[in-house]
């Protein structure tokens, strides 16, 4: 077996907004190479034809980021898949030109996230055609110009679910309903109103998909309301949206520590993983955030990579950070006092008039009032101006919430 071996300065895995932005900032300091397994660079925005990308569509945004990275001098390689590690900063790849083994001074993982499919959500029933995620739906419609079905049910009510509805309607598919097990939608009110009022798609809250029906092709979904009522909605397509899980195969194979909440690699505020010289940015860290925030993380990771290439030491001991129920996760998951940063936070359920309390060994480091309603599936940004109060030799810093009556 012949595998060609090379070295570069920075190897970036994934040419989505995070990877491409990091590449633009890093190119010029040495040999920077971006590996992308798809035939085109751009990541998820390639098939997001809706707004939300700085008033542009996704494909335009993907092209712009690609152009910037290429002009900056990064080497962008498509149809090349990173398959495994051969050392702490050495990766094995497969592409049409053969097998390679590339060693880098710094590796940036930016492999994105995907939606949990029906099976991972343990939805019972038959296994007919017509069961999709938003990712597959968008590619079917926007990259291949095919109509996925005639009448659909959309599972989920977070922002990406509303994108799915618009993609379906745009492709001439009737949308019978949106279904969420939560008590309210989780999209910005304008999006939600647009879907429900202007486009006439009903939203069924506190409702789960109990079973998929049909042989060969989906014929309907059985739903169950919280009060036990059941019904069948006839449809030939169902789209499971949201419920993101990081594309964490490489971090896991590389033995990097993962966060049980996000299921992505744990990082510190400089996007350093537990693997020396290995950084991670974008949706790989936490599931889907808007593309612009993935790009921003790529830029900030690039700054940290530069410091690393300049010889900044890899931190040995850092203070672990963790979120407590009903919070789902917090990122970053390791801090050291002294560096300015902020935290991303997600809740598992709706919280009203809640307070955030951050403690270390029982001592309150920080507390603040949260927005009136905190919504699942949408992140909150929390300032980290209190981090210097943490004891570098102390225990885990814990984020928790308290409900306070007014």
């Amino acid at each position: 077996m012949t595998r060609s071996e090379r070295t570069v300065d920075v190897l970036i895995v994934g040419a989505g907004p995070a990877g491409l932005t990091a590449a633009s900032r890093l190119a010029g300091v040495g040999a920077v190479e971006v590996l992308e397994r798809e035939a085109q660079t751009g990541g998820i925005p390639r098939h997001c034809h809706l707004g939300g990308f700085g008033l542009r569509t996704g494909p335009q945004y993907a092209r712009r980021l690609t152009g910037e990275a290429a002009r900056a001098g990064a080497r962008l390689r498509t149809s090349v898949t990173v398959t495994d590690w051969a050392g702490p900063r050495t990766l094995d790849t497969t592409g049409p030109h053969g097998l390679e083994r590339i060693t880098a001074r710094a590796v940036v993982l930016a492999t994105g996230a995907r939606e949990r499919p029906r099976s991972a959500r343990l939805v019972p029933g038959t296994r007919p055609a017509g069961v999709l995620t938003t990712g597959e739906l968008q590619q079917t419609v926007h990259l291949h110009g095919r109509r996925p079905g005639t009448r659909a049910v959309v599972v989920g009510a977070e922002p990406v679910a509303h994108s799915a509805v618009r993609t379906l309607l745009g492709a001439g598919v009737e949308v019978a309903a949106m279904v969420t097990d939560l008590p309210h939608h989780q999209a910005p009110p304008t999006d939600a109103a647009d879907t429900r009022l202007r486009r006439g798609v009903p939203l069924l809250t506190r409702t789960t998909v109990a079973e998929l029906l049909g042989r060969g092709r989906l014929s309907g979904v059985a739903i169950r309301h919280a009060d036990g009522r059941e019904a069948v909605i006839a449809c030939d397509t169902v789209v499971f949206t949201g419920d993101f899980v990081p594309e964490n195969e490489l971090p896991r194979r590389g033995g990097l520590l993962l966060d049980p909440g996000t299921r992505g690699p744990t990082v510190d505020p400089a996007f350093r993983t537990t693997g020396p010289g290995v950084f991670a940015a974008g949706n790989l860290l936490h599931g889907a955030e808007p593309a612009l925030s993935a790009a921003r993380e790529g830029a900030r990771a690039a700054a940290a990579v530069l410091r690393h290439l300049d010889g900044a030491p890899w931190p040995a001991e850092q203070i672990p950070v963790r979120a407590e129920d009903p919070l789902l996760w917090v990122a970053p998951q390791r801090i050291s006092p002294g560096s300015p940063h902020h935290f991303l936070l997600r809740t598992a359920q709706f919280l009203t008039r809640a307070h955030l309390v951050v403690r270390q060994d029982g001592r309150i480091l920080h507390h603040q009032r949260l927005p009136r309603t905190v919504v699942p599936n949408r992140s909150l940004t929390i300032s980290g101006n209190w981090v210097d109060r943490a004891d570098p030799r102390g225990g885990t810093v814990i984020f928790s919430t308290e409900q306070r009556s007014t």
Binding site: R3, T83, G95, P96, H97, A120, R127, A129, E136, T140
Partner: protein, 469 residues
């Protein structure tokens, strides 16, 4: 090479017609193809192996726990040897991981010696009882409380999809006609010939083999026999992500009880872990849907066996129906006066026994008067490797150098190249659906279930169909 999927059926009179292209019917067709006979297989579905044969636990059994002295015991033992050899020569992935029957309480512990004894009586001599220490040394992720285990080193895991496809491919290449989308709806006889009526017309044959799986009793009745009744016994299974694979080294079997074989945890050749099956008797022969109760039960059992398994993502959930009957054995009967052989009640070992069943059925046909003629060796088949224990195309530099299409990955979770998808679409028994393509390549069968590759794979599939018109 003839595979038909639509249109009128040939006028010719076949020597033998096999009803059903599951793993058993396909194995029989392959065996008959070794003889100078005109053979046809008629299959209701649009693909081979599309019923019970695609949805099992994929174990190549030693037959250590069969009913001693039964036909099943004999055919499983013989089938295991035949299929292991065939797999090695044709590239069907097999991994000899061995099984451990784990005893979790005193009653189960007490049952182990009798099981070791039963294995001996079934001609299997390598089983031995091992203590808890050794069990945990070999399976460190096993849940607490295991007392001992019966070690059955000969049990293997195998790819059921490639097995059926290899049989069918070899049969078709050797001249067997395979008629898909061809459900037999009526049986008649005229001028010493069987006349099988299908929506696509009538097939005529001198000899008839009934390998109709869950419908073998229905076919049998249509021919005037009332020897057995099939009760579909549903088995639901969970498939865990490849990250779970390192948690499980052997096939972990429960000690069988009066209620049946119970729920196992087993690795798959694709690098996943299976948890299942349930055992639920159904009336409906199409009840292959999964249920919330079934999934909950499996998770409860799995948590006891390998607790860490439950933290891993589930790749897929499926169900198969065993063709259980009121009898404790396979229902293979020859009716020479009718030139007819029934191959029914092939319960939960049919994959393993398939080649031995095929040889036995061929003998029965000869005994019923069919002149087999001289047997010949078939041209060997080489199947694409779907197993993780052997190099896959994406890992083979020489293959990619010769054809760069093997270096372009389309399905990222399962690492399936465009070259493999192209080959499968052009194969002698081509897939009729995306699921059929998945069983030939694994494309779209991984953890993302199509989030990344679904649209691209469908595009390749549809364009192939468009090309063919």
């Amino acid at each position: 090479m003839t595979v038909t999927t639509a249109g009128a059926l040939p006028e010719e009179i076949y020597d033998v017609v096999v009803v059903g292209a599951g793993v058993v019917g396909s194995a029989i067709a392959r065996e008959l193809a070794r003889h100078p006979l005109r053979t046809a297989v008629v299959e209701a579905s649009d693909d081979v192996g599309d019923a019970t044969s695609k949805a099992n636990t994929a174990i190549l059994h030693t037959g250590f726990d069969a009913v001693p002295g039964s036909l099943e015991s004999r055919l499983v033992r013989e089938g295991q040897q035949r299929l292991a050899a065939y797999a090695a020569e044709s590239g069907i992935p097999v991994e000899p991981v061995g099984a451990l029957l784990v005893a979790w309480d005193d009653e189960q512990l007490a049952a182990l010696p009798a099981l070791a004894d039963k294995a001996e009586r079934n001609g299997y001599r390598d089983a031995r009882i091992i203590g808890a220490d050794e069990v945990y040394r070999r399976e460190p992720h096993l849940g607490p409380g295991a007392l001992a285990a019966l070690d059955v080193p000969g049990e293997s895991i195998i790819c059921p999809w490639t097995t059926t496809l290899a049989y069918a491919t070899q049969a078709v290449r050797a001249g067997v006609d395979l008629h898909l989308n061809c459900r037999v709806e009526g049986f008649g006889r005229a001028e010493e010939l069987h006349r099988l009526h299908t929506a696509r017309g009538t097939v005529r044959a001198r000899y008839l083999v009934n390998a109709a799986g869950l419908h073998s009793d229905t076919v049998d009745r249509a021919l005037g026999h009332h020897d057995f009744t099939v009760t579909p016994r549903r088995g639901q299974l969970l498939v865990f992500d490849k990250f779970a694979r390192e948690l499980v080294h052997h096939i972990l079997l429960p000690v069988p009880t009066a209620l049946g074989k119970g729920v196992l945890v087993a690795p798959t050749v694709y690098g996943n872990v299976l948890l299942g099956p349930t055992a639920e008797n159904r009336d409906d022969r199409t009840a292959t849907h999964t249920t919330a109760e079934g999934i909950a039960l499996l998770r409860e059992k799995g948590r006891r066996i390998v607790p860490a398994l439950l933290d891993e993502e589930v790749t897929t959930v499926y169900a198969g129906l065993r063709a259980a009957t009121e009898h404790d054995d396979f229902q293979i009967h020859a009716h020479p006066e009718q030139r007819y052989v029934t191959v029914g009640g092939i319960r939960s070992t049919g994959l393993t026994a398939s080649m031995a069943i095929a040889a036995y059925v061929t003998e029965l046909l000869a005994g019923a008067g069919l002149d087999l003629g001289e047997a010949r060796d078939l041209d060997p088949v080489r199947m694409p490797n779907l197993g993780e224990a052997f190099p896959r195309p994406y890992q083979r530099a020489e293959l990619i150098a010769a054809d760069p299409e093997y270096g372009v990955l389309v399905c990222h979770c399962e690492r399936v190249s465009r070259g493999e998808i192209r080959d499968a679409l052009a194969g002698p028994v081509p897939p009729a659906s995306l699921d059929g393509l998945r069983r030939r390549t694994r494309a779209r069968g991984g953890r993302c279930q199509g989030f990344y590759c679904g649209a691209a794979v469908r595009e390749l599939f549809v364009r192939r169909a468009e090309l063919r018109g």
